[in-house]
């Protein structure tokens, strides 16, 4: 049957159906070497320059497992509240593909290293506990360049060129349990989960988790059940989801597409779909009904992994402060309400603010600058907050200059202009542009007198006791001094003159 072309908008879909989502995330570990050999594990090297008989799968080669990779995986499992297997094995996942040197992948099947954990996330002020089914360890594949097709994509290519540098890099797969009860928040929950997981992995120091470089990859599973029904619907798996935004869009797109099919009385096909960045929608790939039989069996070239209890205990004790705990601590330290923390988190400003505070600024000031002026600049330029060419230390310095009275807000914004334009650090910009606040009475006297003289009627009101009218004169002096006058001092001088 042909697919209905009009997707049902998310809110309507969520009113009639209960979305259930699941996420499989692959993380490239940041170990120095590959999973089963001593080749360097790095991104961007010359093609096939980091390969050896083992990761090329040459006849006669044998794998030897990396202690570091297992350690990182255990850390991930512990941070996700998983149980760590007392004894487990690697398994071969058999399938043919040119980017697979052995035409099987060493992975784990029914004996994953970590199982049964959870990750709490907050979304739209609500808390969700995402269950973690398993965390296991496997090796990455090579990378293909497709030549001859229109867009460099696989479809229509004449042939392909394979680079095996990536083959054998340790890969951790984190699989969630199905997540139900999210309703219309499903897309946002999916995104929030991946974001939190990414931050957790970064805090653990186990991966540089760059989605744009492929060190963090997501597949999202989506299904719909009729509202209130106990039975879950048929799920689809969406691949090629390469950014946090895509995670959200992919889930949304699938919910809307599946709702349209179900509304029309159709059946959702169990299949793998491919997400397209340009259209924000998915297209069908390999049908899952003809699912691959990977013929898993325990890897005979490797011996079982039995992490000693003392080792696991040491790793657990050495876990760093995880993002959720850190956020709670900072919230308490800064005395912020939940909504304020959420605002920081949503703006991806938390770390920046924390570093700015660490550099000496008051939390309130740090928040003000990052959520206010700098967020505005970032949006204008269409870039991420963290990509702005200004450092937390510099923001702290600006804040310090304002607090000491050397700058006022208006001048501070000009200083930031200068920093963002690449003119140097705060002090350099102040000096170069001559932006210091002028508080010297003699310097201000002339401007004050001029303003009074220029507005006799306002001056008269002030003499008559209407102190509030001083504001207009202050404004005039500020204008005349290009904002560099110390406004408070100017006001004092005006009132003195016209007392």
């Amino acid at each position: 049957m042909t697919e209905p072309t009009v997707p049902v908008p998310l809110d309507q879909a969520a009113a009639r159906y209960d979305p259930v989502i699941g996420l499989e995330t692959h993380v490239e570990l940041g170990t120095r070497t590959k999973m089963f050999c001593g080749c360097r594990a790095e991104f961007g090297a010359e093609p096939n320059s980091a390969v050896c008989p083992v990761c090329l799968g040459l006849p006669g080669s044998l794998p030897v497992a990396s202690r570091a990779a297992i350690e990182y995986t255990i850390k991930i499992g512990l941070a996700l509240n998983c149980s760590i297997a007392a004894w487990c094995r690697f398994a071969r996942k058999n399938y043919f593909y040119p980017d697979m040197p052995k035409d099987f992948q060493i992975s784990q099947y029914d004996e994953p290293l970590c199982t049964d954990g959870s990750l709490d996330i907050t979304c739209d002020g609500r808390r969700f506990r995402v269950g973690i089914e398993r965390v296991h360890l496997e090796e990455d594949t090579g990378k293909s360049l497709h030549v001859g097709g229109a867009t460099g994509r696989i479809h229509g290519a004449e042939y392909s060129l394979v680079d095996y540098n990536r083959a054998g890099i340790p890969l951790v797969e984190v699989v969630t349990k199905p997540v139900a009860g999210t309703g219309a928040l499903a897309p946002a929950v999916a995104r929030a989960y991946v974001t939190e997981l990414r931050d957790l992995l970064r805090a653990l120091g186990v991966s540089d988790v760059r989605m744009e470089e492929g060190s963090l990859r997501c597949d999202v599973n989506t299904s719909l059940a009729p509202a209130g029904s106990a039975r879950w619907g048929t799920r689809t798996e969406t691949k090629n989801v390469n950014s946090l935004r895509s995670v959200e869009r992919a889930v949304r797109s699938e919910i809307e597409r599946q709702a349209a099919i179900l509304d029309a009385g159709g059946r959702v096909r169990l299949e793998t779909r491919h997400f397209h960045e340009d259209t924000g929608s998915t297209t069908p790939g390999r049908s899952k009904e003809e699912a691959q039989d990977y013929r898993y069996f325990p890897e005979p070239d490797l011996v079982p992994v039995a992490p000693p209890a003392e080792w696991v205990a040491r790793l657990r004790a050495a876990l760093p402060e995880l993002p959720a705990a850190r956020r709670a601590r900072l919230q308490a330290e800064w005395g912020l309400a939940d909504t304020d923390m959420t605002a920081l988190h949503n703006a991806a400003a938390l770390d920046l603010v924390a570093e700015t505070v660490a550099a000496g600024a008051l939390p309130a000031d740090a928040r003000k600058w990052w959520l206010g002026e700098l967020s505005r600049r970032a949006n204008e330029s269409g870039i991420e907050l963290a990509a702005l060419p200004v450092t937390p230390a510099q923001v702290a310095r600006v804040s310090e200059l304002v607090a000491s009275g050397a700058l006022n807000d208006k001048l501070a914004r000009q200083v930031l202009d200068g920093i963002l334009a690449g003119e140097g650090g705060p002090d350099q910009v102040v000096a170069a542009r001559g932006l210091a606040v002028v508080s010297d009475d003699s310097a201000l006297a002339a401007a004050v007198d001029a303003a009074i003289a220029a507005s006799p009627d306002v001056a008269g009101k002030i003499r008559a006791g209407k102190k509030a009218a001083a504001g207009a004169l202050v404004g005039a002096v500020m204008k005349a001094t290009r904002g560099q006058a110390d406004a408070a001092r100017v006001r004092e001088l005006i009132l003195q003159r016209l007392a």
């Binding site: 006849p59 006669g60 080669s61 043919f96 069996f297 005979p300």
Partner: protein, 501 residues
Amino acid sequence: MDGELIRRTAADLAAAVAGGEVSAAEVTQAHLDRIAAADDRLHAFLHVAAEPALAAARAVDDRRAAGDALGPLAGVPLALKDVFTTADMPTTCGSRILAGWLPPYDATVTRRLRRAGVVILGKANMDEFAMGSSTENSAFGPSRNPWDLSRVPGGSSGGCAAAVTAFEAPLAVGTDTGGSIRQPAAVCGIVGTKPTYGGSSRYGVVAFASSLDTPGPLARTVLDTALLHEAMSGHDPCDSTSVAAPVPPVVAAARQADVAGMRIGVVTELAGEGYQAGVQARFGEAVELLGSLGAKVIEVSCPHFRYALPAYYLIAPSECSSNLARFDGMRYGLRVGDDGTRDAEEVMSVTRAAGFGAEVKRRIMLGTYALSSGYYDAYYGKAQQVRTLICRDFDAAFEQVDVLVSPTTPTTAFPIGERADNPMAMYLADLCTIPSDLAGNAALSVPCGLAPEDGLPVGLQIMAPALADDRLYRVGAAVEAALQQRWGQPLLTAANGLGDD
């Protein structure tokens, strides 16, 4: 051609080289001459590396001249089964799919042999990817038994056995997965050992069945076999399954050669129907001989050995179906059909169909079947459980005895072509050898006579617990010495296939 040099043992040649009686280069040349004279009839070698071998021999001579200490096998020539990677010689595994493949690295065993000063003469013929018991599955033609050129030399290390038997090399290194060292040794009348699994490194051994493949030595005497066993063995960090324990004292045991007081078990299940009368007769005499040398002989039942063959022919093909998947024409080896009309999958399929022989194809499909979803539990899973039961049979047996014995293989060398179209009949050659491969323990075959009905060699198999490889040599050497006394001459002097005695 120095007929005398090629008939000497490895121990003897090493001593002669070390003592300056003869140069390593002379020894190597003598063997190269023998190969040139005999191998077009025997076809034991797929590749002879004359110049590199002579260079290696001269290097040994140089070291000797410089006063450096030489290892116990320095200057001794060797045939290396073509399943071991060699960076300076092609490695084909007897297959068209790897014809001409030059590996960029040496196997660990290759490296250790070279470091020991052993001279690798070339690569020996084998059943394709070590699958077979006759060397008839080689894509490059079978090797022939020096006792009777119309008969098989056994397999899959048939080229190794033929080379040693015909005095082309005093030593050979092969691999044993289901009996592939012991059975050829038995039907050729020489000595061959399957060490404890993991005793020798598998790094650089093109994999057939990963949990079963065991590199091991072949030679004409028990002592020579022990010397080679020691030289090639030991832990290798490149092989996760390699044993970290020290190499058992096999050479000392070979010199000890005394079975007085040892308890020997005859396996009940490894006899009876399908066993050639002459084989059983010679085996029985060997057992009596052991008794007369002071060993205590009893019968031991290993009830699950009956299931060893079917378990093996599920486990080995399963592992091989996965191990051979990498031969897809993408990175090395044969590529067929890439003319622009086919996609990668099709080129893979056409390449593999053209590059693999029938037995390999059969085992790949059998293994794919046994691992398939829905069949795994009943086939591969069950076979691995049976394997545990076979281990337990061995454990129970070794509570009562120090070694177990049986004939190495039910028949003497069969004619070339006799079993080629009958896979099941071919598989039966491994009946006695398979249990040790499944359990991973150590086993050795030593000649125990000629079958009266055909005058062909019979092998006595000795089996020991894992890591007790030395017991094999103690018993083997005792049998060898006693039989030598009885016959008055080495067995091989009766080998007349090449018509040169």
